[in-house]
Amino acid sequence: MARTHVTTPLRGGIPRPLRGLVIPLVLLVAWWAAVRFGWSTSPLLVAPGKVWQTGVDQVASGKVFAALGASLWRDLAGFAIGATAGLLFGALLGASRLAEKFIGPSFHTLKQISLFAWIPLLSVWFGLGDAAKVAFLSLAAFFPVVLNTFEGIRSVPPDLLEVARVLRFTSAQRWRKVILPSASPAIFAGIHLGLIYAWLATLGAEYLLVSGQGIGNLMIDGREHFWMDMVLFGVFVVGLVGFTLNWIASRIEARALAWRGRSVAQF
């Protein structure tokens, strides 16, 4: 790939950082024009201004915050339970060959079941309320955390463990100073994935276990009443929350792993 020739910043007239805005702006103008000039008579074609107005109303009346609060509370509760259980279980599988051989195959079989297929079963066992939703969210976070923790611990270089043995580390020291630091990138990757899956599962749980309130219920309501503006606003909020969760997880990951960038010579 001859990439050198594109480094000139002003080729094509539009500055590079602004180019990403071109297509969204064109789409927005086309949308506005479609409404303005009546290209379609479908009631689903709402004006961009109306979506904006709905958003402002929702924010001003606090409805969106109530829904979002309910969703996020469940999301974080389920994530906390699932990630904690996942860390412990992953560490057990990673540290003990016997545990891996004994429990591992059953775990890998269960993992194959598509996440959302659990919902109907959970709804019979836990009802349609928050208990079933939180149980489902923990399950969504559990699997990626277990897998990554397990892989991380298994790929601790044997040399490091040998050094720990030479230094006669106790078991606690070995975990604190060798195994966990060495496995931390994989563990954080698992937690990050768990967070993303839990958010996806939050929406799924609200669609499938329709009771209570949440951002998913808001969108389902909008769909049932053919409120396109509400649905579009919901899509925007869902994207924003996913983006924010992702960003927070990346920041924590970067901070927690910052020491890895330091030179070994400092020790």
């Binding site: 051989k101 079941i113 959302f116 297929a117 769909r223 396109m228 649905v231 899509v235 994207g239 996913g242």
Partner: protein, 279 residues
């Protein structure tokens, strides 16, 4: 193993694996195989006992025999096959669209910085909203027919494929490109002999993720809006409180997911096998 460490230690400190391994009484694979079974069998036994003594109502947890029987019946009556076939056709149709679109988008963004500048921010925003976020919107726009399922499944497959293809091409080491330049490769040769082979592993990873996500999306969209398919079997069983139907369908969903992943892993071995010989 002969090693000299600066510290003295006794042989008990040696890692077990550095000692000559004792000849095991049973071969390793048989030992592993035997160890894997007690847990599922114990769970199954507990389940059978719970059902037999009616510790749990059969509406909440049907007996293992009932599940096995339902499984057999729906297999013999063809109901299971028919639903499985419908689901598989949907997933492959959606995945094929997502694959073609994702590869095209990923290659275009990877090779052309101009395309990347214009398209990537929108693509990222699009990817940020999960499949389930788009669902209510699409239901309004296209209804709840086949189109909805195919679009959602292809979206689920497209995002990881496009992203991994793009990143894979971006991350081709500059050294490789330099070698290509030295050899005076034409643009086409550069693509087919340097860029694509070097980016194949991440692209393939994206394809695997894409198929996994497509299967996940299929199940959820069939649970939400369908009147046939494996997901519908689950919903239908749930509504009638026939948990044996639900469990039988869940087993099939898991088995198909497993088979799809293993199938791609087998292709990967053939496709990327050459990499190991190179080093």
């Amino acid at each position: 193993m002969e090693r000299s460490w600066p510290l003295d230690f006794d042989s008990a400190d040696l890692a077990p694996e550095t000692r000559a391994p004792a000849r095991p009484a049973v071969p390793a694979w048989l030992g592993d195989w035997l160890l894997a079974w007690p847990l599922p069998l114990a769970v199954l036994a507990l389940w059978a006992l719970a059902a037999h003594f009616e510790w749990i109502a059969p509406q909440v947890l049907p007996s293992p025999e009932a599940v096995a029987l339902t499984f057999k019946e729906s297999l013999l009556s063809g109901e299971l096959w028919a639903n499985l076939q419908i689901s598989l056709v949907r997933v492959f149709a959606g995945f094929a669209i997502g694959l073609v679109g994702g590869l095209a988008l990923g290659v275009a963004m990877g090779l052309s910085p101009t395309v990347k500048d214009y398209v990537y921010p929108l693509f990222k925003a699009f990817a940020q909203v999960p499949v389930l976020g788009w669902l209510p919107l699409l239901m309004l726009l296209v209804g709840i027919d086949e189109a909805l399922k195919i679009i959602l499944i292809s979206k689920a497959a497209l995002v990881p494929i496009a992203l991994n293809t793009y990143k894979g091409i971006q991350n081709v080491p500059t050294r490789f490109i330099e070698v290509g330049r030295v050899l005076r490769f034409t643009r086409w040769q550069m693509l087919t002999r340097v860029v694509f082979p070097a980016a194949l592993a991440p692209i393939w990873n994206g394809i695997r993720y894409g198929l996994t996500h497509a299967w996940l999306a299929l199940v959820v969209v069939e649970l939400l809006a369908s009147s046939e398919g494996l997901g519908y079997m689950i919903v239908y069983g749930r509504q009638l409180f026939q948990l044996d139907v639900v469990l039988a369908a869940v087993v099939v969903v898991g088995a198909v997911g497993y088979a799809l992943d293993k199938g791609l892993a087998a292709i990967e071995k053939r496709l990327l096998g050459w990499r190991k010989e190179a080093f």
